[in-house]
């Protein structure tokens, strides 16, 4: 198991460094941060000074080697725009993002799971079709459209909630709700098909045959099995906790990592972008790892299967 985990982590590290490398090259090639950060009216000497100060006038491979060398010494670089260490810049945004993505995750699961189960149990009935159509609708509406419309209704027309910003917990309601709606739709679909698959398994028939009433068959036998594939999608959502809110954060002016990323990319604030990519890669990899371990926990079959496959 440990070997398996180490193997996964090693592969993940390679994966993340691959991403960071690609991002490094692309970002460096894609524009000069000096003119972007200092603005088009700044004097040319300022650009020159800025480029020199940040080593942007060196060949790209020198910059790349320096960057990686610095990473191995624990230095992730400073924000060109902000001056502080990129880690600090990103770090102060992460709690803000988590403050909306974690409640949204709960919302997704709390709505999506029961809806999916209910739809599966009432397959091909009107309520199933309704739930599924709503669910497809849920993720075919662009999140910013949903966000803006919700803001229109709840902030402008009704005046119940603030439309943007991050001052009080009330400000978080609309972003959480927007993300929650969309994610719940995804989970509902997933849960439904997982549930349908499980309901066709022989052990469900066994459970009925031994005399359990249908409700108990569903709760005690179908659900735990259906939870297993659903875990994958929830795991993916956990993995995108840090970066999953790019659009929604922009819509609701929520100063999280997602919006930082948008500004940092726009400004070519390289170190900040890289740190965010590292964070995102790591959370995703970590989430995958946790999901894998959880699989073993919820699905005893995998405990041994994986051991056998681990050659």
């Amino acid at each position: 198991m440990l070997r398996y985990a180490l193997l996964r982590i090693a592969r993940a590290l390679v994966t993340v460094s691959l991403i960071v490398s690609i991002a490094f090259v692309i970002l460096r090639l894609s524009g000069d941060p000096a003119i972007i950060i200092l603005g088009p009216e700044a004097p040319p000497e300022a650009f020159k000074a800025f480029r020199h100060a940040w080593g942007l006038d060196q060949p790209i491979w020198v910059q790349y080697l320096k960057y990686f060398n610095a990473i191995f010494h624990g230095d992730l670089g400073n924000s060109m725009r902000d001056g502080r260490s990129a880690l600090q810049v990103v770090g102060e945004r992460i709690p803000l993002t988590l403050a909306i993505t974690i409640p949204a995750l709960f919302l997704k699961v709390l709505i999506g799971l029961p809806a999916g189960v209910y739809a599966a149990l009432h397959r091909n009935t009107a309520i199933d079709r309704l739930i599924m159509t709503l669910s497809v609708f849920g993720f075919t509406v662009p999140s910013f459209v949903l966000g803006l419309v919700l803001a229109m209704i709840f902030a402008v027309k009704l005046g119940w909630l603030p439309s943007g910003g991050s001052d009080t917990w009330l400000h978080a309601v609309l972003p959480i709700f927007t993300m929650g709606m969309i994610g719940a739709a995804v989970i509902a679909r997933f849960t439904r098909s997982a549930m349908l698959e499980v309901l066709g398994q022989p052990y469900i028939r066994t459970a009925s045959a031994k005399g359990l009433v249908w409700r108990d068959v569903v709760v005690a036998h179908a659900l735990p099995n259906a939870a297993i594939p659903t875990l994958t999608i929830v795991g993916f959502m956990v993995g995108s906790l840090v970066a999953g809110a790019v659009v929604v954060e922009s819509v609701f002016s929520w100063p999280g990592v997602g919006r930082l990323l948008v500004t940092a990319v726009a400004n070519r604030d390289l170190a900040v972008v890289q740190v965010i990519l590292l964070f995102v890669g790591f959370t995703m990899v970590l989430a995958n790892l946790i999901v894998d371990l959880l699989y073993g926990w919820v699905d005893p079959r995998l405990r041994t299967k994986r051991l056998q496959a681990g050659t």
Binding site: Q201, P202, Y203, R205, T206, A207, S208, A209, K210, G211, L212, V213, W214, A220, H221, P224, N225, I228, V298, D299, P300, R301, T304
Partner: protein, 343 residues
């Protein structure tokens, strides 16, 4: 003999998209108290469906009619609650693939305990003691340790023993074993069959053994019902069936089996294939494959009627027995067809 379970004119129609297609065409069968009855037939003949239907396990896609009475209680149309109290209690069922018939995420002990709780109200210490006794009874050594294991950690034979233990947990009057050994190896099959035999005689439990393997049925059953295309085509005591098979299909099945003993001979095969339920020929379903078929067979549906010297030997063939052959001399094909044409 006292009848434990009585099936009368059971039909099952399956939702096939555009229409419902009949899979069972009025099956009638009785199971006496403590009796072992074998149900044989090739795949798709309706042998499993009969019993799943009887227990109400076919789901929403099936429409049932007819009657299934378990010790006087009608099961067709019974409420879910009523049915579930009978299932696993009075009447238990085990399935072909034991490994996938056990829930992969629950421990053995839990799955057994569930049955005990349901039907005998046992919990805690009492339940776990009983669980261990049951496991011991079905020949699983090391019961205490096994309780904490998962189905996938055990072999198929072991899982089938657990299925049997689970079936026994409700102390049923009748056990339906649907191809209990098909997925198992020969040596394990022998173990399981022995176990079933022992248990049924010990507990006075009626046993319905569904199998495609004539050998298994011959070995175990007192009485045999042969099914073909959703109908019972022959039923008799085991000896009568194998020593004096009457229906051409039954005869064909027996002749098609290779031998381990005796001189090597060319196998007698039944030509053609089993038609799917939505493409049955008119008249006797077996007629197209039957070497003795006459034009009448193509149009006339034979009823299951007593035949021969043995008590309880019935067959559904218009050519079975001299008496019938005489009687079936007549109607010209055309007139029968005309008669049968729906208005």
């Amino acid at each position: 003999m006292e009848t434990q379970l009585s099936i009368r004119d059971l039909t099952v129609d399956f939702d096939q998209g555009r229409q419902f297609v009949r899979a069972l065409h009025g099956v009638s069968l009785d199971v006496a108290v403590g009796e072992t009855i074998g149900v044989v037939g090739e795949s798709g003949c309706g042998k499993s469906i009969t019993w799943l239907a009887a227990l109400g396990l076919l789901g929403k896609r099936a429409t049932l009619s007819g009657s299934v009475k378990l010790a006087g209680t009608e099961l067709i149309g019974a409420s879910e609650k009523q049915l579930s109290s009978l299932r696993g209690g009075k009447i238990a069922m085990i399935f072909q693939d034991p490994s996938s018939s056990l829930n992969p995420v629950h421990r053995i002990g839990h799955q057994l305990g569930e049955s005990l709780r349901l039907h005998r109200g046992m919990t805690g210490e009492q339940a776990s003691a009983e669980t261990m006794r049951l496991l011991d009874r079905v020949g699983i050594a090391n019961a205490r340790q096994r309780l904490n294991e998962y189905p996938h950690e055990m072999s198929g034979g072991m899982n089938q023993r657990i299925m049997i233990a689970m079936a026994l947990a409700g102390e049923p009057d009748i056990l339906i074993a649907d191809e209990p050994t098909t997925a198992l190896d020969a040596t394990i099959q022998a173990q399981i069959l022995d176990l079933l035999r022992e248990l049924s005689s010990e507990n006075g439990m009626a046993l319905v053994l569904i199998s495609h393997d004539l050998g298994v049925v011959a070995d175990m059953a007192e009485r045999v019902a042969v099914m073909y295309c959703g109908r019972v085509i022959e039923t008799a005591s085991t000896d009568a069936i194998f020593d004096n098979p009457t229906h051409p299909y039954t005869r064909g099945l027996i002749a098609a089996l290779p031998d381990l003993e005796g001189p090597k001979r060319r196998l007698a095969s039944i030509p053609g294939t089993v038609p799917p339920p939505d493409q049955l020929p008119p008249g006797c379903s077996f007629a197209p494959r039957c070497t003795h078929a006459t034009p009448l067979c193509d149009v006339a549906l034979p009823a299951l009627l007593p035949v021969g010297p043995d008590a309880g030997h019935s067959v559904a063939c218009i050519h079975s027995g001299p008496m019938r052959v005489e009687k079936s001399k007549a109607p010209a094909r055309q007139s029968v067809t005309a008669e049968l044409e729906p208005a």
